[in-house]
């Protein structure tokens, strides 16, 4: 109790002002009892001391509040530094992705021009290799950009429209066949495969799964892609005879998996399956994998026809 502004009014004013909102406040009052103490704590004091109190009690209270405040300030600084770093990294990835693409585009088109102009394999074969390597880099950049977008937006933004998944699938598999002329890719479809989806994103998923199956499967084993009409949903299978090592399975969909399990076959950033999973989840679907030496590997996607 004080003349003029009373303790509670002052407390409210201090808590309303952003500059003093986190200031530790110890209330000293002659009002004893649970109710008075609860009222003070509810109003936002950190401690409530009842008069008469001992000097030792007050000093202990002040020093513990000051220590807690110091810890809190340290934590806030750390969080704001971390936030700046995360923000910086995301901008960095996005800008780098865009700026890297322009010279890469020049490399790829120039390699294509060399193949068009070249009359002999002495020229066209190395030019084709330049293009393939640049293509791989372009895929990695796309994935990094997807990842940056995912983290900034907190999820994938879909552009849904009426799509025939069978048609999307055939187009993707045709592209893969021309990139891997030796691979055996079989497609089986049943029923009505139409729905409202983001066709480009689903093409990315099919290309990722079937591409993995070609690259990581047994060299002569066929890749089976199946699309089945399941009423309100579509089921997509991608199977190949190769098995995924048991210790890799639990973290298969984690981003940057490739960075921790570096082996010769790892050619990407380990982002493809992570992004595929995000695309499927954004469509309110599910993606699962089974893999063993007997049955080989099977990715199964369950995709509702309507995303909304």
């Amino acid at each position: 109790m004080m003349p003029g502004l009373d303790g509670f009014e002052l407390l409210r004013a201090l808590r309303d002002d952003p500059a003093t909102r986190s200031l530790p406040i110890v209330m000293l009052s002659a009002r004893a009892g649970d109710e008075a103490r609860a009222e003070g704590l509810m109003a936002g004091v950190d401690d409530y001391l009842v008069k008469p109190f001992s000097a030792r009690e007050l000093l202990a209270c002040v020093s513990s509040r000051l220590a807690a405040r110091a810890t809190q300030i340290g934590r806030e600084t750390e969080i704001s530094e971390l936030r700046k770093t995360v923000d910086y990294n995301e901008r960095f990835t996005a800008i780098l992705g865009h700026d890297l693409r322009n010279p890469l585009n020049a490399i790829m088109t120039t390699a294509q021009l060399l193949q068009r102009r070249g009359k002999s394999p002495d020229i066209t074969t190395p030019a084709a290799r330049i293009e393939l390597a640049a293509e791989r880099m372009a895929r990695m950049i796309s994935q990094l950009l997807d990842l940056a977008r995912l983290r900034v937006a907190g999820g994938l933004q879909l552009a849904t429209k009426h799509v025939d998944l069978g048609q999307v699938c055939r187009q993707v598999l045709d592209e893969l066949r021309s990139a891997h002329p030796d691979a055996r890719i079989e497609l089986a479809t049943t029923g009505d495969l139409q729905g409202r989806w983001d066709g480009d994103r689903l093409a990315q998923v099919i290309s990722n799964l079937a591409g993995n199956a070609i690259e990581h499967g047994t060299p002569d084993g066929p890749v089976h892609v199946g699309l089945a009409d399941n009423g309100t949903a579509i089921t997509l299978h991608v199977k190949n005879p190769g098995a995924i090592a048991g210790e890799v399975l639990p973290t298969l969909f984690d981003p940057f998996r490739g960075a921790t399990h570096r082996h010769e076959k790892t050619r990407g950033l380990g982002l493809g399956l992570y992004i595929s999973q995000q695309v499927v989840t954004a469509h309110r679907g599910t993606i699962n994998v089974r893999s063993n030496a007997v049955e080989g590997t099977c990715f199964e996607i369950h995709l509702p026809r309507e995303t909304a």
């Binding site: 865009h98 693409r101 322009n102 010279p103 890469l104 585009n105 020049a106 490399i107 790829m108 088109t109 120039t110 294509q112 021009l113 068009r116 102009r117 640049a134 293509e135 372009a138």
Partner: protein, 113 residues
């Protein structure tokens, strides 16, 4: 004549080479302002337009063209790393560019004109 607008020099010069190999006459510009001056000087049969450029962007140039009756009728083919930026309804080729695909679209546009 085909006008190619891109701020990235090597990509631009490669497109010029590929188009000249097919027998087209090609003029290049490195930004929107230069392109606009070229457009007003000599009307091309087709404009191949990059979007993200310092200074006047491809999108701004496209909007300017749509406001000028003499320029609005020039066919445009957009090349961009981010096709979501392309103006609605304009034929678009994603970067990295597939030259075969680009030449096919160029032929289609020029034949139609």
């Amino acid at each position: 004549m085909i006008l190619v607008v891109d701020d990235e020099v090597y990509g631009r010069e490669t497109l010029r080479d590929a188009l000249e190999d097919e027998g087209y006459r090609v003029v290049v510009a490195r930004d929107g302002e230069t392109a606009l001056r070229e457009l007003e000087r000599d009307q091309p049969k087709l404009l191949i337009l990059d979007l993200v450029m310092p200074g006047m962007s491809g999108n701004t140039l496209y909007d300017e063209m749509q406001r000028a009756p003499s320029l609005a009728k020039i066919p445009v083919l957009v090349t961009t790393a981010d096709p979501t930026r392309a103006p609605l309804g304009v034929p678009t080729i994603a970067k990295p560019i597939q030259i075969d695909r680009l030449l096919a679209l160029v032929k289609l546009a020029v034949d139609k004109a």
